[in-house]
Assembly symmetry: C2
Homo-oligomer: 274 residues x 2
């Protein structure tokens, strides 16, 4: 992983560094207009610099079905052939992103919708074919922290869709959790960065059937233990891998929580610790 | 029409003002990959500040048909109900815009895809219903020239999709020719602005059957005469109305030409004069 600039003068000593909150919101939240409106209202109340990264997989699957494009997932990852690439460009880059930007503007945030191609902020490489050909799926190779910092310093609120480009003219479908983590990693040299993963549950649960079983603080060693004994599984594993990766690379705080908790960040959800 | 800032110190005297070229490309050009690639290559050779405004109506109509959404046009204007709004958000804001941005990046331009909602650059009002209800169609009310100038000065190349917002959370379908003209008008206070409308024909023709009958310089009085006697008709009329509007509001030069002439701007096409 390379970033666009050398170590910031703030690296290793972020006392006094400006605060940055990166919020990632997933599928169900961006699909329910009422839920989304509430989330964006809560997001608008976050002070300091902020970035929203959104998903939209369920909407993409629904649109693909309408267009007769078959959705194929392997290990929670979408196989992106040319037809599916067009679908995700339309749904993530157009429909979802622009509606969120317009709503943010209405809430007084100077939002700007971005994919990785815009201002070349996030470049990726088409995932090499090993056992599985994921098609037009991108693995992030660089984040232009300087360019994002210029936008943030101008008061803009980046709204990032889960799409990147390869620098040779090709757009690529990219995991939103990973994009949020890579953005947090790249900007942690300049900002005291909090990364918040918002999803349907109130945090990482000890018992998936019991919403009150939230793990308040999850140490990496416990994550590995819970992963081994099956307490934590499926989609939560790559999310936590991304989260610990960001924490390990200088992000100050990683919180996994429900979208409805965004208005009260100090009181709930799972915090990761090393 | 209001703009975001007062008169620029350069207003009325643009000697020494930086040059800006705004290129608008329409339907057929953005649909044929080979044609588009050539156009973007020519566009990349334009020196100084530049902005690309794209359409995409034919692609939107084709996608609407695939989705079972009926296309209704009145006087060349699309009736945009809620389903059609989703289609144009997807096609203009996602599919076309992001592919163009990625290709521009590959050609060495630091492109940034924008709708009117992004950074609030172009605000519109939902067209009032008089005889016809155009639905979610926007009439431009303001262009943030300062914000666009900041992007241009940073070396970015805005790629603008024909979509605006109303400031209250609603995206609106907006005519690309008009957006290009309004952008030219707003930026003419700061830049020596050339507006180029690229379409399928080599310029405004005296005889639509004869591509060699290009009018080299079209004065407003002649336009009105040709409009009256039917020499100029249909879709060319609103395009020329937009062009003369921009010329009248301070743009330096308006050229109507074929996309394939963009590489040799000094030699062909129709130039408007007042």
């Amino acid at each position: 992983m390379t970033h666009s600039s050398g170590p910031s003068p703030l690296s290793g000593d972020k006392r006094g560094a400006p605060k940055l909150t990166i919020v990632k919101v997933g599928g169900k939240v961006v699909e329910d207009p009422g839920y989304l409106q509430q989330l964006l209202t809560d997001f608008s109340c976050i002070e300091g610099n902020k970035i929203l990264v959104h998903g939209g997989g369920r909407s993409a699957t629904a649109m693909a079905e309408k267009l007769g494009v078959k959705t194929e997932m392997i290990g929670g990852r979408r196989i992106t052939n040319k037809e599916m690439l067009d679908v995700v460009l339309m749904v993530y880059g157009g429909l979802i992103n622009k509606n969120i930007v317009a709503q943010c503007q209405a809430l007084g945030m100077n939002a700007i919708g971005l994919t990785g191609a815009d201002l070349n902020i996030i470049k990726a490489v088409k995932r090499p074919v090993r056992d599985i050909d994921y098609g037009y799926a991108g693995d992030v190779v660089s984040v232009q922290d300087e360019q994002l910092a210029i936008l943030l310093e101008s008061g803009a609120v980046p709204v990032i869709a889960p799409l990147t480009h390869d620098g040779s003219g090709l757009m690529l479908n990219t995991n939103a959790d990973t994009m949020a983590a890579e953005t947090a990693k790249a900007l942690s040299g300049k900002y005291e960065t909090t990364l918040v993963y918002c999803f349907e549950k109130p945090g990482v649960l000890l018992n998936p059937e019991d919403d009150s079983s939230v793990i308040d603080t999850l140490a990496y060693s416990d994550f590995k233990k819970y992963q081994e004994d099956g307490t934590i599984n499926e989609g939560m594993i790559p999310k936590l891998d991304n989260g610990f990766d960001a924490l390990n690379s200088g992000a100050k705080e990683i919180i996994i929580t429900s979208a409805s908790s965004l208005g009260k960040l100090n009181v709930s959800g799972t915090r990761l610790s090393l």
